[in-house]
Symmetry: C2
Subunit: 437 residues, 2 copies
């Protein structure tokens, strides 16, 4: 039994995928049953680092997703359209889908999985989160019997690379971003990475798997790393922390509501002070890591390359093999493998960020008056914000720089206190507000 | 479709497994199709922290593995016999097997998998390595398209706990072992853990999966941590290393042989100097971690609790669900899922440890003569051992303590040099010889 795939896109990941499929020697023997039947590209003339027979290549992507001979469509185009329409069209033609497209899945997952469920086909997406790190399949299978409490991840390599360099070199964000762009670690338009949008897509996907419900992407609170300054990184270091862009999805038992057992999730992406001894603190450069906490499991962490042609292709091809293996096992029956299919239909309830309870770090610029720390303390106290430390670090342009770390506080209260502080005559500005893990 | 399991053993892991199966709420819905049909124990009178109806319990384990109603036997007895015979008997009665028994699989895997292949049943063993950490299934599936170059793991929690405490407290092995036994982190008979035998079982299993061949356990070179002293840990720290008991399986291209493409593996367990910046250096206490390197993947690491009732039970139950899911998908067909079954029959060639090329650390006690470092240097040079550093650390009982770190050297040559050095009149003893990662 052989399986024919239609490959959409022959960019970085598509090329890596074709390379693995073309040289299956010494790898899983099941690879030899996979045949690249068609490859869809935008331009036939572009030079390629992988050899594909010209009769296999086409610019007519529609003809691939409707080709009756093809079993599995491998969507590696990226972006929202035409990826979404091609995936839906492929599903309607009974094709299984393998995709690395976190943006499409995070936004149109509901539509895509509903269609797949109706047609009885698989949609696998190991490569969409964490590049080559196996995390989607372990969440579905190996960890599937756990009640997941939280997922905390460094899931964007570009921002972790920038933060790592800011930490080791003491440089400012804009300079290191510019250098990262030159070196190819950041894109010309870095918005999706540095604003945290890419990480938000990924944590929405992970949360959906971990908590078995759909996630509306607009419910994910998202802050990027543009506001993180060299000063914050240095102060964090002194306090025993490193700053990481964390993507967090967490189950929250709500004791305060009248509804019994109402359960809310927190899902958020923001720069965070991480204690230096925490496993995520030592994840450097473009590496990704995903920490899963659950019951009865405790903590497990998956670490590896979050991007790159080879690693991401490794994940893509493992999904292809998974589908091939299951199709082989199932023979002529039409039962979907229950651990590979995705059937939850309800949407998860996501708590607004104002209800988050966390510790905060804030850097406040004040006119140097003897009483200013007293005033800050009073304003925080007015809103029930209890302080762990208040340190006047030094002076900048005749302003005093004060760093505050709070105990656990409800975010809404903290924001009200900050609004009051911002209005104080002695306060110039509050350049940084970061959460503490 | 429901599945009936027969549970052999109701110790720590068996109890954890029963608890997950008895309370499937909020977990994978597939759990509700699993029914604990029989439980086999040594004594019916023992008090249990999990409630099992008395009519389900029996001391007649043979009657469970031959019960025609049972689909899956879950072997959690540990030890070699009767576990091995029960597994083989269950297979001959067409039962699928889930086991956490690394000792049986490492020794009798060939016999067990051959029997399973003949009968068309699965033998899954996620819990045998790394407790709750998903590593067996990712190796078979998510990483299955990679050519694995090496697996390097901290796979024994007891020894990592002891080494971590020796490092943080500066204590000696024997004292901390005694305390670990009191606290329940080490067994009354600690041999299997501290001599590295448990780690050897586990790396043999991982190597077999990664390199798709059978491993003879006697080919695994194994050294424990008894020889590691507080002094070694302190010197290692000064040199920028921590000492870890590593289990290593590595592919080795042999350039020197006449046979074309002959491939050998190195498989070994020994205390190792690990650079402080290496991901494995920061794995503390009873945690386990497994680092996999391959092509095109690069590096991925799996980290988590290597033992314990809940985590290990999580792995056991995930195997049960995997089998249930595949049986459901396959319906009445009798195709085995190619990524879950194990069909390789040949034995891997394992290089003798004398052919290993590695860096070494050695601690040598000498009578304090001015020329002794010169004599050491000459003896090392006689056997082609190039030295990275030679440091006279201090004095102990009128003997000088000299620490040597070599460049890469063939182990056989290094041993010959040591034998020559041991025979020098100025040399008293060589209390520690450790490899460097």
């Amino acid at each position: 039994m052989a399986f024919k795939i239609g490959l959409l896109g022959l960019g970085t990941v598509g090329t890596g995928t074709a390379k693995i499929l073309q040289d299956p020697t010494g790898r899983n023997p099941l690879l030899q049953t996979i045949d690249i039947h068609r490859v869809g590209v935008r331009s036939l003339d572009k030079p390629r680092s992988v050899k594909v027979p010209s009769e296999v290549m086409t610019t007519d992507l529609e003809s691939i997703v409707t080709d009756p001979e093809i079993d599995i469509i491998v969507e590696l185009l990226g972006g929202l359209e035409p990826a979404r329409s091609l995936i839906l069209n492929a599903i309607s033609h009974g094709k299984h889908i393998v995709t690395a497209n976190k943006a499409v899945i995070a936004r149109y997952g509901a539509e895509i999985f509903t269609a797949a469920e109706e047609k009885g086909v698989y949609v696998l997406l190991e490569a969409a989160v964490g590049g080559g790190i196996p995390v989607i399949q372990p969440l579905k299978q190996s960890l599937g019997v756990n009640q997941i409490h939280s997922i905390t991840g460094i899931v964007n390599g570009t921002t972790n690379y920038i933060l790592t360099r800011m930490e080791s070199e003491g440089g400012e964000f804009a300079d290191i971003l510019a250098d990262a762009q030159k070196l190819g670690y950041a894109e010309a338009d870095p918005t999706a990475d540095v604003e945290g949008l890419d990480a938000a897509d990924k944590i929405a996907i992970l949360a959906s798997l971990a908590f078995a419900g759909r996630i509306k992407l607009e419910d994910v609170h998202c802050e990027g790393i543009r506001q993180v300054s060299a000063a914050d990184i240095a102060y964090a270091q002194n306090l025993g922390f490193v700053i990481k862009l964390l993507a967090v999805a967490k189950r929250e038992a709500r004791v305060a509501t009248s509804e019994p057992e109402s359960e809310m999730l927190q899902i958020r992406v923001h720069p965070t002070l991480v204690p230096q001894a925490h496993p995520l603190a030592s994840i450097h450069g473009v590496y990704n890591a995903i920490l899963v906490e659950g019951e009865p499991l405790g903590q497990v962490m998956f670490f590896g390359p979050g991007a790159g042609s080879g690693p991401t292709a490794s994940a893509v091809v493992s999904d292809i093999l998974n589908i091939a293996a299951v199709l082989k096992t199932a023979g002529e029956t039409h039962h979907l493998h229950p651990l590979l299919s995705c059937v939850h239909q309800h949407y998860c309830s996501i708590a607004p960020i104002s209800e988050l309870v966390t510790r905060f770090y804030a850097r406040i610029m004040t006119k140097d008056r003897p009483s200013v720390i007293g005033h800050l303390g009073i304003s925080f106290g007015n809103h029930g914000v209890s302080l762990e430390s208040v340190v006047q670090i030094g002076f900048q342009n005749e302003l005093a720089e004060i760093v505050v770390v709070t105990h656990d506080v409800r975010e809404g209260n903290f924001r009200k206190a900050l609004a009051e502080i911002q209005a104080l005559e002695a306060v110039d500005s509050i350049p940084s507000i970061l959460r503490v893990l």
